[in-house]
């Protein structure tokens, strides 16, 4: 941090570095709240997945995949008797939103293309939304700060869930099966602030409900993604 770019006033680099650290800390502060939410949802993921996966695999899944919606989605496909292929396809489709999110974040990330692809792994819903609201376009520091507390929150929550799931009792008695739709609803609410998403929400919901009685579990959700083709009409 001793180099000064050409044409900069003395101290300018230091000021930018201090500003960068301040935005990272702002991301961390918001991220502690996200991390607490991720911890609770992680517990429910551990409790719900333990009967199917045992106590080790759910923690590995959370540590590697680190994407709640797709973990719940693919697990519920497996729980209802779907195949691994359907489970991965459903989970991958649920993560498809990370593609446009990554495109939006890319210019703010640092270094070579591969380094930026690595930094792009920090894109998760809550901190992406936080960073996209930054004053100067997308804010890399808010993204990193916001994501940092969520990773240990998510993995530790999963661990607590699989260890104490039995002691917590029946997940349904605790209402834990209501947690993931609620979490999705919270994420959907921020999508609905874009009014043009409303026809897609209606069509996607209608497709999923109409196909549920006639197709194996998992496929109605996968096919509901077809509602996004409404975007071609604009």
């Amino acid at each position: 941090m001793t180099t000064t770019e050409e044409g900069e006033l003395p101290g300018e680099a230091e000021r930018r570095e201090a500003d960068r650290r301040e935005r990272f800390r702002a991301g961390l502060r918001a991220g502690l709240g996200f991390g607490a939410a991720a911890f609770v949802v992680g517990i429910s993921f551990g409790v719900v997945s333990e009967p199917l996966m045992g106590s080790f695999a759910p923690v590995v899944m959370s540590a590697l995949v680190f994407a709640g919606a797709s973990q719940f989605g693919s697990t519920s496909v497996l729980l209802s008797g779907g195949s691994a292929v359907t489970a991965v396809a459903t989970g991958a489709m649920l993560n498809a939103r990370f593609l446009p999110m990554g495109v939006a974040a890319a210019p703010a990330l640092r270094g070579s293309r591969w380094r930026r692809a690595l930094e792009g792994q920090a894109v998760v819903d809550a901190s992406w939304a936080l960073a996209a609201r930054g004053k100067r376009g997308f804010d890399r520091e808010l993204l990193m700060g916001g994501t940092l507390p969520q990773y240990p929150g998510w993995v530790l929550g999963t661990l607590i869930g699989v260890i104490f799931g039995g002691a917590l009792g029946n997940p349904e008695d605790l209402g834990l099966d209501a947690i993931f739709p609620a979490f999705f609803l919270g994420l959907l609410a921020s999508e609905l602030r874009r009014p043009h998403a409303v026809p897609t929400v209606i069509a996607g919901g209608a497709i999923a409900l109409a196909l549920t009685p006639v197709l194996p579990p998992g496929l109605p959700v996968l096919l509901a993604s077809g509602a996004a083709l409404i975007g071609l009409r604009r």
């Binding site: 996200f34 693919s74 691994a84 446009p100 495109v103 209501a178 999705f184 996004a228 975007g231």
Partner: protein
């Protein structure tokens, strides 16, 4: 159990690839405008489908039970702009309370 590990491995690779794709693509050229129009709507379509099937489906049957009550509680929390953590706790408490009294 094989299906579990295949799912974990497959989803890990898919998720890393999807998250890496944006930064990798931007280095080259932009996707056509119309592709973004579709991709940007995937999340609302899929989230809605997941919410409804998680709340109303039991395998291939559609039923209204305590999960729907929990979701209604979450809806109130979201309408009041509650944080995500509060929203999920309210939904769990609502569903648990409904099961306790029925």
């Amino acid at each position: 159990m094989t299906a579990v590990w295949l799912t974990i491995g497959g989803l890990f690779v898919a998720t890393v690839a999807i998250k890496a794709a944006g930064p990798l693509i931007v280095g080259e050229r932009e996707l056509p405008e119309r592709a973004y129009d579709v991709i940007g709507l995937l999340a609302p379509a899929l989230l809605t489908a997941l919410i409804l099937t998680d709340t109303l489906a039991r395998d291939q049957d559609l039923t209204v039970d305590a999960r729907a009550g929990g979701l209604a509680c979450a809806g109130v929390a979201v309408a009041l702009r509650a944080p995500l953590l509060v929203t999920v706790l309210v939904a769990a408490a609502g569903a648990a309370a409904l099961r306790a009294i029925t």
